[in-house]
Amino acid sequence: MTTKLFGEPIPRREDPRLVTGRGRFLDDLGGRALAAAFVRSPHAHARVVDIDVAGALDVEGLVAVYTWDDLGGRVGEPLPLLIPHPALTHGRTGYPLARDVVRHVGEPVAMVVATDRYLAEDAADRILVGYEPLPPVVGIEAAAAADHLVHEDVPGNAGARLVQEVPGPDGLSAPAAIERAPHRLEFRLAIERSASMPLEGRGVYARWDADDESLRVYSSTQTSTSVRMAIAAKLDLPPAKVEVIAPDVGGGFGVKIVHPWPEEILVPWAARLLGREVKWTEDRREHFTSSAHERGQVHFVRVGFDDEGRILGLDVRFLHDHGAYTPYGIIVPIITSTQLLGPYKVGAYRVEFTSLYTNTVQVTPYRGAGRPQGVFCMERTMDRVAVHLGRDRTLVRAANLIQPGDFPYDQGLTFQDGRPLIYDSGDYPELLRMVKELIGWDDFGKAQTEAAVRGRRLGLGLACYVEGTGVGPYEGGHVEVDSSGRVHVSTGLTSQGQGHQTVFAQIAAAELGVPIEDIRVTTGDTRRFRYAVGTFASRAAVLSGNAIALACRALRDKALRIAADALEADPRDLEIEDGIVRIRGNPAASIPLRTVAVLSNPLRYAFDEEAARATQFAVGGSTDQPPVAEGEQPGLEGTQYYSPVRSTFAAGAHAAIVETDPDTAEVRVLRYAVVHDCGRLINPRIVEGQIHGGVAQGIGGALYERLIYDEHGQLLNASFMDFLMPYATEIPAIETAHLETPSPLNPLGVKGAGEAGVIPVSAVIAAAIEDAEGIRIEEMPISPDDLFRLRERARRAAGESSGAEAGEARPV
């Protein structure tokens, strides 16, 4: 029965194309287009003094060179600040091409268009830009010291400062509660920069139709609808004359939600100016230095707690490095500051962040978007509290968990969508119990001791998280049944590998009662659906999934009304199965949905036999009623939107066992366990895949990936050779278990799943290494070098203290 499709691990419908080389990614399109290449700043901070293009002019195939002076109109204005916030008092964005100052290595300075990419790059190489270097600001602490400024008019390099405070149940502020608490701790925790790093970079391909004065743009984006609005505004075109399509997108993970990128404005602009197709495909080095990074934050935590480990007050101040510009506002630090609390009640809470400019690539959300840092703070705090009290780490957590009877639970904060942070549902004690069981928490001590006897160092770590998913404002779904019985489903948000063609088809098949083979899903194509927000914040299944379900329900009602007329039955007695509407209990009385589709559109002209059934002399019925009943529309189709009051909160707990090498300080993850609750599962296999991928990115972020800038603001590891993403050999087998607490907020009861895997990994791995080594881990990622140095430091400190006790001279 088709309705079973919801919740089934069916194979993906996108795969037959993708495994045979028939994917259509951005650079697979526009074979005849001109190619664009960019001259980018080699300096982290400099004034552009002059640009000499003469050398480029004799490159064969050169079509055009543009600098900021050529842009004009709105194209020459700064790029939009996408998410303004009252606390972002000094928001700054770059120009599509640098105007007078460049603020990070990789900032675009000139655009070259030529007949092919090789030639465009030849020409770009011959453009001489004169720079007058300015002192660069690199690193969070240097930014805070503010000896130099990234933007002359931003004092202290501070773009934003935001405080949120929640008093404890006794009305005490966090600092007061901490002061009065029986126990207090204070420490610094830091996370370094990483990046989304999809294997397909960004890319834009534009065609101008001079006759129609319209533009078609393909972009490797996570939001085609918003790119369309941005291009229309910048190029001063009516939106109806711009269409934007996200083709197959080779991964996004957050970086492709940013828009409009300079290239997304410049490529269409040049295509119109030149009357030619123009395409730009980002290369890997460009992706490293000219897109976006995330994660870099330094946190100062103060916590007060009782003898059980119950947190009475938590005060977190942190510095967020947002790079050279703030196009995406302060979403990342807002998420850190609100999602930090996770599944816990902490008494009084105060959080304050300062968002700082540095002369590095801008910072915008990367999968997890500030949550990995927040969870790192909270979970490291739990571990510190447990060590301080000498209690089991899971007992301290259990003492602080929100209980199943507490929902809806209001954390008293304002979330990233401007709405109250109210958790809708969950069962956190059960998550903790399940993950302990899955990893074998209670038996680990024995294994650890036995291993130690054989000279092996094992450690166990655990972390919990809550993830606000499915943020608004809305998404929509359009469903149409054509006269051949095919069902066309479309939604405006885009896909980057999440299997939307499969899960949205599962939803539609279940709701409509049609075979999934008859369903075709389109995403991210503004020709089909114009109103949408985008794919980020684990929101696609929640927002578009529910919108599609609602559209299907409305369409089903309409189909039953029309079929009831045709079958002379009561719509309430009808059901749809396998694409056939029939009277329940009377299978002989039935009408295929495709015929209902024909009847739904009263015709004057017949173009085939099926259509003839709907023409004016063929249909019976009353002649004193209009052919299209009042309040109805022709066609078996409809659009619905889903706009949630607030986010729905997924949650989970991860645990890992690691082994550290006593000599080389290498860290191996021996086991990794995930317990995850994203409400009702639409396709468990796809959810599992999302978790696997997230955990792998998390392990990369915990052990291997960091973006290293030198003091001049040069990114030292801007290649896959030096920025170490995990291969298969670095990722352990991932064990998973699911809990399903449906969301009461949406019709399908689903929660988002896309980011969950990555969120707690650094916290888990840090805890496990700490457990193996007996050394505090306060900064991630951690390389063998880092761990080796920590060991040396611990050894020296131990030597010093024992030396001091023995009254000996200290080692130098």
């Binding site: 795969d15 037959p16 495994v19 696997h692 291969y727 050999t729």
Partner: protein
């Protein structure tokens, strides 16, 4: 400045193909842009990600690290050529779809070519051999769990077909 162009001919997926290209044309660009075989992907252009892997006389190579002229006269197989002549997907292609071994699909053509060669040489690989075999290809989406499964599954499908 006019660049010299050379006639480059090779057998691609069993069919003789050729184009007139500059000496510096990468094999990956030649396949994608001159021959229109866009199934081969480019993720880094510096030999690390493996997205551009194709089979050159049956052996996996990184087409971004080779000039097209260097492949002249040789036989190249791309992802478009992995299916049986009738178009039915190869066991490796089937196994990847069956095991959910791809998400965005950008790395997939490289993995498929790599694994096809791996299983030809080692039809029943051990876990370690699978790991070693795929350890030169990056995937940012799947966490590799299902790719490992798919390699074993493909080996089973091949055995069943015999």
């Amino acid at each position: 400045m006019t660049e010299e162009r050379l006639d480059v001919e090779m057998t691609v997926n069993g069919v003789p193909r050729g184009a007139r290209v500059p000496a510096r044309r990468l094999l990956s660009d030649f396949l994608r842009h001159d021959l229109g075989l866009t199934g081969t992907h480019v993720g880094c252009e510096h030999g690390v990600c493996g997205c551009c892997t194709v089979l050159l006389d049956g052996e996996p190579v990184r087409s971004c690290l080779m000039f097209a002229v260097g492949a002249a006269g040789h036989a190249v197989t791309t992802v478009e050529g992995l299916a049986a002549p009738g178009g039915s997907p190869s066991p490796v292609q089937r196994a990847f779809a069956e095991c959910h071994a791809l998400q965005c699909g950008f790395c997939t053509p490289g993995f498929l070519c790599t694994v096809t060669a791996l299983l030809r040489d080692r039809p029943r690989p051990t876990d370690d051999e699978v790991m070693a075999g795929i350890s030169g290809n990056l995937c940012r989406c799947t966490g590799y769990q299902n790719i490992v499964k798919a390699v074993h599954r493909a080996s089973e499908l091949m055995a069943e077909a015999e």
